[in-house]
Subunit: 110 residues, 2 copies
Amino acid sequence: MVKSSAARLDSVFHALADPTRRQILRVLATSERTVGEIAKPHKMSLAAVSKHLKVLESAELIARERRGSFHIVRLQARSLKQAEEWIAFYSRFWNEQIDNLERYLEGDTE
Amino acid sequence: MVKSSAARLDSVFHALADPTRRQILRVLATSERTVGEIAKPHKMSLAAVSKHLKVLESAELIARERRGSFHIVRLQARSLKQAEEWIAFYSRFWNEQIDNLERYLEGDTE
DNA sequence: AAAACATTTAACCAAATGGTTGACAGCTTT
DNA sequence: AAAGCTGTCAACCATTTGGTTAAATGTTTT
């Protein structure tokens, strides 16, 4: 399923809006893992973790490869790039606000 | 309501996972607007836009100020900084993948 | 070929999401 | 004080989400 740019941002940001899924990405940043290994530290069922993986997969944040009876999962960070670029557009606004504050404080001391 | 770091990321990423809300942020990047001005370009009701604003506000991505009978809304980009930092942790992974690809392609030509 | 293991899928459930309409509340104008 | 704005809130609805358990699928071992 090919997604529009907006739809891809939708799915990436949605995937990131859950602490379980962010935690999974952190673990995968260390190394690739099987589904079972990913699920173990979580209190929920394996099926629930499997669903989270599907969400991450449809956002193209992970990729799976079947190796024997194991499904091995690895991080695919490329999709995050668009998200970061989207946010980067706004970075000037928080810097601006800081600059304005600094100017205000400088003016205040005179 | 004070949120944990994870909860704040939850609410920011959730707020960004909707095209209407991202569009609202874009408009506010140009200048502050009243709720009515924000709603006009959208096909949905004013109440629906009001709900979207509430989501953005609870993610601290916007701030409101009452001015007479108007509610003036402005961008508050600072919350995006955490989100960007969270993503930045992964930037090395997409660069790494690119590097690996380049190395692979170089090796291939020899 | 049967048993055991790794994972997904299906059916279900409660809660959250994104929209609607209509009533309400706060200013401003008359 | 009544009418007319601007915007929110409440009640409702359909859909999606995030979880569960049980059944199904595919692979390996016995």
